[in-house]
Symmetry: C2
Subunit: 525 residues, 2 copies
């Protein structure tokens, strides 16, 4: 395994104090020395990225698609070594990581298909009106173009799908933007294996050196330097509110501010309505116990708050949920810091006014960094006066908020911050009775579910993974699904250009055969 | 004329010190007392706007379209009074304001057509895959929804088309967002007349009170309060860099930050290539003299810098431009402060190292606040080392930057900030010889022209009016053309909802007959 900082096609020799990856399930060090990159390395990576951009922005779609597909192939070619290293570094089980690898290669192939098809550039053509009075109207044509070098921060909770060759990298490369990855220090070995796969794929297609680089750091200096660097045009990040806001502020203070697409956590409210609870309490309890504890609760879409009204059905649900959670064992968290944080926050919440534990999973003492599932309960009136209870506890935890009367349900929803998702669990009678409450959840979330769990984010065209602040820094964009490519582009209009000088996407006769809005008609003419 | 602050359907009684509009061509006061709104008024307007949003966001497209068309009709129904008041308040000539009124009503009708047609919501449907292994894929559907109350700052340079019922208001109302206008203090009477037209139109269609309000202030307090108010979700602004940045900072410092779409000025570079100058110097000089002085140079797309290489053709062009400018008289600027600023900056620039005047228009001493056209010249080497010369001088001014050799042309382009537009003036031989320079201009601007002047922004689907920072605060959006509606919306995904509970735009059978991406196929099925 090549563990060096990779700038373009060169692994460079670094100095200073090396760091190692830690197996969170045992606390022991894993093989491989990783060296924090220097500020000069950050500058070199971005200088090369900017140079590469001059070529890569004009690289044809077929080549870009082939590049993305080659990355997927090279990732598969690593074989078991990748899964094993990711297991050791993340504590996540084999099946999950195999599934995540499938999602990662699936994303790469999806973006390959998207750029190859080509209509994603939103081409719009308004032909000239030479006879318009009092003055002729010129020919105007618009499409999306890539913006420039993108800095991708690898996320800890998806060491493959939201990391080095994850959705951010795949969509940025698809858009025509070079990528500099800041590797997550919790899985540097996984990162290095995937980085080498991207390097091989770029070389195979003779792409300009600098289309991809990766830098390591177990501190904050390199991340900060990358965000502040004048050649960086866009930043993507998935992690904590604190981390995301720090990057956002750095980006806003630049001489030329740049967008930071930060996903910063969400408590993903679930409203459990009375008829559904009465009719299906056991099934709902099973479904949500599984969703809350999936992947040790380390999902941005983890249901962190359940909202319901006092009823017999709710009592039955609580018993069933308690029973279901009790059968679930603890699991290894991604890193010691995350586990420490979870243990602390999940205990602290129980010291808040009116909060009590109603269910716990089993603790496995054979392994380190274990997260014990916890369901707590609080009255709506206590919840409404305590802002602390609206904050995310990252891990297998959920807070059941119990309303005394119907109006309180709406009050609880209105008190929530912006969310990635909001879910309704309802039967026919609920849907009629609570229609206004149900409608209101689109106001606070990017994705709304009916009788479905929020965990499990499908990589499809219709996916919106991004909600109002503070769930993300920009609710108008998504980080999952084909829409994610729109984060790396901006529209440009060409006015009065001759046909041969226009990009192919905008030429008469539509040589790329893409969908375009021509004189206000959608067609492929 | 009703001159009061309008909150919903009520003109309210205000206290404090009234201000009056000033005729810039004479310096004399115009009839009508306008009272600065209070902080309580700002709160009342936004509270009503938020209430109205709960209804207006679900108002059907036909009603919204009819509302927009009624605003256009009511504006026309004001008749000559509107044109005369706008002339008195802005110093702009009758024909220009009649044209601008046509553009304003045209924009309202264009957005009416857009929402009535309906496809602008970008509906995407991915049908469920119940048999997928290892788990079924749920049904997921996405579309754009309005975000909430919008604060529109009226701009001084387009008292109709970028003011009370201008493009920002038209596109926000089309999107389903209520609007609170902060009237520009230079044209309060024009603002009041148009506000009454919007009020009448809203009442005619029984829209919820608060869908539109307007507040006056000759200071900064109300503008600040509106941006900081927690119920404000989006801000639009067209004006100076200083003003735009002040609003942007306020918005970023909020507990929940919000987008500010600020257009903050641009010097709109024009690259004049050698063959074109040699072959067409007289025609180009005429064309640019007109563009530079149009509307007293008070256009955001005014060509503020001309870039060319030393040549005989350039000498002939300079003489022709000098002659053309010399024939153009001064014109009244929009307000005393703007004129004072122009006089000062255009004189200051002549004191910079290496800058000299090469042409001036005639000064009309019969009227006050006259802007005298000025063309200055500087060498590329002096330009490259003096950042001050890259800044906008708002008025009928342009700086000719003369390069000694070809590489300097690219250096000058690379030294420029982000721009709304960039233009190339070129003949056949130039296009071949300078292809890399020509290609590079898409990197710095939102709209690129070939052999066309940048002034005259067409309101069409393919228009991009928005460029990289600092031209605008967000180059990914446009403030002119149908794309402007995208500033007021965000995507939401519905997962696993039954058909009757989905918005009409996403229902099976496509009852609204709009274009949708269904299972990755664009169609109207």
């Amino acid at each position: 395994m090549e563990t060096g900082n990779l700038i373009g096609y060169q692994y460079i020799k670094s100095e200073g104090k090396a760091f190692k990856a830690i197996d969170p399930s045992s606390g022991s060090e894993l093989p491989g020395d990783f060296y924090p990159a220097s500020l000069a390395d950050a500058d070199a990576a971005l200088t090369l990225a900017e140079k590469a951009f001059a070529v890569y922005r004009n690289t044809d779609s077929k080549t870009k698609a082939a590049f993305l597909r080659s990355i997927a192939e090279e990732i598969m070619a690593i074989g078991d070594e990748l899964i094993e290293r990711a297991m050791s570094e993340s504590g996540l089980p084999q099946a999950r990581l195999q599934g995540e690898r499938g999602r990662t290669t699936g994303q790469l192939n999806l973006f390959a298909d998207l750029v190859e098809e080509g209509s994603w550039v939103d081409a719009v053509i308004d032909n000239a009106l030479p006879d318009r009075q009092p003055a002729a109207r010129p020919d105007i044509r618009k499409m999306l173009i890539p913006v420039g070098p993108v800095v991708v921060f690898g996320a800890s909770n998806f060491p493959l799908a939201f990391s080095v060759a994850g959705g951010d990298t795949a969509s940025a490369l698809a858009a025509g933007c070079p990528v500099v990855v800041k590797a997550h220090p919790a899985h540097p070995g996984t990162s290095a294996l995937v980085a080498e796969a991207i390097k091989k794929a770029a070389q195979k297609h003779n792409l300009p050196e600098g289309v991809f680089s990766i830098l390591y750091d177990d501190g904050f200096a390199i991340g900060e330097a990358l965000v502040k660097h004048p050649k960086t045009k866009i930043v993507t990040f998935t992690g904590s509110y604190k981390g995301g806001m720090a990057l956002l502020k750095l980006a806003q203070q630049r001489e030329a501010p740049i967008p930071v697409f930060a996903e910063m956590g969400s408590i993903n409210p679930v409203i459990l309505l009375p008829d559904a609870l009465e009719n299906r309490y056991a099934q709902i309890a099973e479904q949500y116990a599984a969703s809350i504890t999936l992947g040790a609760g380390q999902f941005c879409t983890n249901p962190g708050v359940l909202i319901a009204m006092k009823s017999d059905g709710l009592n039955k649900f609580k018993n069933a949920l308690n029973e279901a959670i009790g059968k679930i064992g603890s699991s290894t968290m991604l890193a010691h810091g995350i586990c420490k944080n979870y243990s602390q926050l999940s205990e602290e919440v129980l010291t808040e006014e009116g909060v009590s534990a109603i269910g716990r999973g089993n603790l496995n003492n054979d392994k380190t960094n274990q997260a014990q599932p916890l369901i707590a309960e609080v009255s709506a009136s206590s919840f409404l006066v305590n802002p602390k209870l609206r904050e995310e506890v990252f891990g297998p935890y959920s807070l059941l908020v119990v309303a005394d009367y119907e109006v309180q349900l709406q009050q609880v929803v209105d008190a929530l911050h912006g969310q990635l998702t909001a879910s309704i669990v309802a039967d026919e009678a609920d849907l009629k009775k609570y229609s206004s409450l149900i409608q209101s959840i689109t106001g606070i979330a990017g994705r709304v579910m009916l009788n479905n769990v929020p965990t499990g984010v499908e990589v499809v065209h219709a996916m919106q993974h991004g909600g109002p602040f503070p769930a993300t820094s920009d609710s108008r964009f998504t980080s999952v699904g084909t829409g994610a490519i729109k984060r790396f582009v901006r529209p440009v209009s060409w006015q009065n250009w001759s046909n041969d000088l226009l990009p192919d996407e905008l030429k008469d006769g539509n040589p790329l055969n893409i969908w375009r809005l021509v004189d206000n008609n959608w067609n492929k003419n």
